[in-house]
Amino acid sequence: MYNKIAGHIEEHREELEKIWKDRLINDGEERIIDVMPQHIFESTSTDFFDIILLNLKDKGREYKVKLVNFSDKVVRLGWPVALVMKGLREFVHTVQENLVQYGSIDKEREGDYLELLDKWMTPISNEIVQTYAETWEKTVSLQKMALQELSAPLIPVVDQISVMPLVGTIDTERARLVMENLLDGVVNHRSEVVLIDITGVPVVDTMVAHHIIQAAEAVHLVGAKCMLVGIRPEIAQTIVNLGIDLDRFITTSTMKKGVELALEMTGRKIVELEG
């Protein structure tokens, strides 16, 4: 039965390829085909056909390599996974209709053929979905890493004074990172005063405040002072309205004032040069 299908496809390859491509293009939902250069679509589709045929004839190494290469290619070209899956489905339909049309198979055995075709496509679709999933997972983990690197940097600005600017939402995971970086940084840079800048934190709710208070207390334990700077008017309003007690901490509205205060606390000040 395999050979029969394979023979038929090889014999009518050009016709099948044309019908199949027309179906994909005419379906119209996939805008990606419109924006894709014609020759890329053509060559990729031909590759696709080759692979399906190769699968039929030879399941050895060459097929494996080609399939992996093809999956990589569609992923790189940014074809939506739905389009590729549709391509596979349409292929089954096209071949089946074509087989019936040419009378190569008996009507009664149509179901068997359909099942066979399906079975034959499964490993291909599995491989492609696998490649897509791997790519997505890789992207997500890379972004996660990038986010982590960006999420809590401690910058030693002057001797004994360090700054940690926070930008974006703070969740429990990030708060843990903030605390660890803060403490390690204070010990490594031997800072006396650390400024946590929350200008970039959009919302300060009780949870965020709780995390910040904990971090500040931990800083006190390792022997440094913690200052909260960059408190915007709306943040000040929320803090008071929520009844969050920040009395134990030194807070200022801007980083500039904070740095001046920190210098004062470490017995220094900024002076202008004469002349």
């Binding site: 031997r190 904990q214 334990l221």
Partner: protein, 118 residues
């Protein structure tokens, strides 16, 4: 093994070098108070740089020692709390709010001198 308590002018220096067990911690509490009484020390520096782990009992004993020393008129500075220890303490809800802390022994002594006003 008891924890050695050294005297430096009117300060007492304690460096805790190994993990405290409950018994040692209690002995240390007694020893320190006795020494404060004997020497009339005005300041105490407890350095815990080498400690990477602290449990709630030890933390409580430390907090108690600090309060007791204060009652006896000695100011206490704790130095060298490791980041991991600080996180544990915060998670245990021990804040040591009114205790002086410093990064290391040197800065601790400096702070103490300032506090004692000489």
């Amino acid at each position: 093994m008891r924890i050695p308590i050294l005297k430096l002018n009117d300060c007492l220096l304690i460096s805790i070098q190994w993990e405290l067990d409950d018994q040692t911690a209690l002995e240390f509490q007694e020893d320190l108070l006795k020494r404060i009484h004997e020497t009339n020390a005005r300041g105490v520096v407890i350095d815990i740089t080498s400690i990477d782990f602290i449990d709630s009992f030890i933390a409580k004993v430390l907090g108690d020692v600090i309060n007791m020393s204060r009652l006896m008129g000695a100011k206490v500075v704790i130095t060298g709390i490791q980041p991991a220890v600080a996180i544990t303490l915060i998670e245990l809800g021990i804040r040591l709010d009114d205790v002086m802390t410093a990064l290391d022994l040197e800065k601790g002594l400096e702070k103490l001198q300032q506090e004692l006003g000489d």
